[in-house]
Amino acid sequence: MNTPADLYRKMALIREFEMRIDEMFATGRIRGTTHLSAGQEACAVGACAGLRCDDAVVSNHRGHGHFIATGGDPGAMMAEMMGKQTGYSRGRGGSQHMACFDIGFLGSNGITGGGLPVAVGAALGFKMQKTDRIVLCFFGDGASNQGTFHESLNLAAVWRLPIIFFCENNLYAMSTPMHDATAVENIAERGNAYTIAGEVIDGNDVIAVRDAVAGAAERVRGGSGPALIEAMTYRYLGHSKSDKCEYRTREEEQRWHERDPIKLYAARLRESGELDDGRIARIDAEVKQQVDEAVEFATTSPDPNPDELEGSVFA
């Protein structure tokens, strides 16, 4: 369901989930590392809203939002964050390695650019099965400098595969500004080299993202071959938990906060009368409650049994 209230709710849920994780890392309740997507919610939610529910999504390291937008359960996600047996990967994966094949979420990924060829393979599978399902693959601006990006676009184009390559361009790959490491002005231009039409969109406008993906999905589903969408956005927090963001200015951060995807959409809904302040406040409260429950579920879940360490390596 993708009513305006749903879109708002999903973005708010991602934000609440991410900010809670940030807090839990700071207080040592979650170990390991994490990459949070606060600021990029419109990409995840808009893109998934443009898909059909039997389509598949391939994610990257910054994947919590993608997963929630695809329909991931915050409780099982939080449990996975904490390495619990009730987590999506039974505590084996953690923040960067979650999947739910039942809902077509084919997994987040710790290898930058690692998901792209896998997404191509999934699209190949859909095509060979003669279904009209499609794949959407999330990746970052930085990932487009990996060989896998170029190999994947080429092969997908040659085989006319049903896949949307969805780049979340948040202007940085870790500390590296995009243009210090990328020879083109826009990632979308890179499609030209592979006969794939690329388009640049406002990644902080959830409706613009949804419409762009829905349009591309229709073409791709119809057999036009792959599409490439580049959504301009910004991550609010550090790259991962230990980053102090010395490579960018507080002014730049402030400018992007002024175009906050959630606030933008709320303002639009208020203006059009689709949601009023009371309803928005209620959704915010419900989302907070949902994350509270997720944390409670995760916290009270058992750790994996060390005796089962070697299970499930092989089928």
Binding site: G32, R92, Q96, G110, I111, S175, D303, P304
Partner: protein, 324 residues
């Protein structure tokens, strides 16, 4: 001597070598203003600028390959791959080009490069950020494999690696960066292929490298309380391998425990065991034993991660069983 951390020792070695030889330069992902994911290039960009401390795109294959090419044209690049797990992407360039070019081209070129990388488990960051892939590289002809366990060795070995005319895979364990130790300010090298006896003993020889070398010292302490005297040999480089130092110890103790954080199957220490078998079989009083990581992708859960890799008590336990 000054007390410095492991990351500082790495940084200082890079700095010294860059000052000493203008052909030395550093490149990798976020090695500039960010100072490297684990801080080992901190402040170098400020001192040497973007020409000699190069931030790269996220392109591990090109990073390794560019180091090979620059090395063949007279430079001494030190390329950083952020996590050892990402070396799989750089593998062709490092192994097929870097390791082979000299021999394939009839010995007419040299590839004096260092591929620094951080690896190992212990931070709950799961299967794609925690591996120990030394064995892959020990298997590759034409490359050296170095693995320090403390600040002193880190600085001396990195300097030796940079000055060496061969491609060196330099492995830094993520759990050692904060470790402090005494490091001379004046120039010194720790030669490649020289193991270090870090604890002397008579009953059992424990052969290890990297982070495990520190755990083995802890294990030696535990064993001492049980009246077992362990000799700990920190290999420091896995290739070239210091077989003589190992054999000298085995002759004395007659018992060998090998430990590593790599997966058990085909682990780098199995090669060490084979060398002992070939050259020191007569010294052995008991079959050798090894303790390695389980043959699983490293799990995130702290409980499972801990169960997956050798710990000091488990090393001590294995040594105790060996001594019987």
């Amino acid at each position: 001597m000054a007390e410095v951390t492991f990351w500082q020792a790495i940084r200082d070695a890079l700095r010294d070598e860059m000052l000493r030889d203008e052909k030395v330069f550093v490149m990798g992902e976020d090695v500039g203003i960010y100072g490297g994911a684990y801080g080992a290039t901190r402040d170098l960009w400020e001192e040497f600028g973007s020409e000699r401390v190069r931030d790269t795109a996220i392109s591990e294959a090109a990073i390794a390959g560019a180091a090979v090419g620059a090395a063949m044209c007279g430079y001494r690049p030190v390329a950083e791959i952020m996590y050892m797990d990402f070396l799989t992407i750089a593998m062709d360039q490092f192994v097929n080009q870097g390791g082979k070019n000299r021999y394939m081209f009839g010995g007419k070129t040299t590839v004096p490069m260092v591929l620094r990388t951080q690896g190992g488990a212990g931070r709950c960051i799961a299967a794609q950020h925690s591996q120990s892939l030394e064995a892959w590289f020990v298997h590759a002809p034409g490359v050296f494999v170095v693995s320090p366990s403390n600040p002193y060795d880190a600085k001396g070995l990195l300097k030796a690696s940079i000055r060496d005319d061969n491609p060196v895979r330099f492995f830094e364990h993520k759990m050692i960066y904060g470790m402090k130790g005494e490091v001379p300010e004046e120039d010194y090298v720790v030669p490649l292929g020289r193991a270090n006896v870090t604890h002397e003993g008579d009953d059992v020889t424990i052969v290890i490298y990297s982070m495990m070398a520190n755990l083995a010292l802890e294990a030696a302490g535990i064993l001492e309380q049980d009246g077992i005297s362990a000799e700990v040999i920190d290999l420091r480089s896995l290739k070239p391998l210091d077989v003589d130092t190992i054999l000298r110890s085995v002759r004395k103790t007659g018992r060998v425990l090998l430990a590593s954080e790599g997966c058990e199957n085909n682990n780098a220490v199995t090669e060490v065991a084979m060398r002992i078998n070939e050259h020191g079989f007569d010294y052995l009083d008991a079959p050798m034993k090894r303790i390695c990581a389980a043959d699983v992708p490293i799990p995130m859960s702290p409980t499972l991660e801990d169960a997956c890799i050798p710990t000091a008590p488990r090393i001590a336990e294995a040594a105790k069983e060996l001594v019987g």
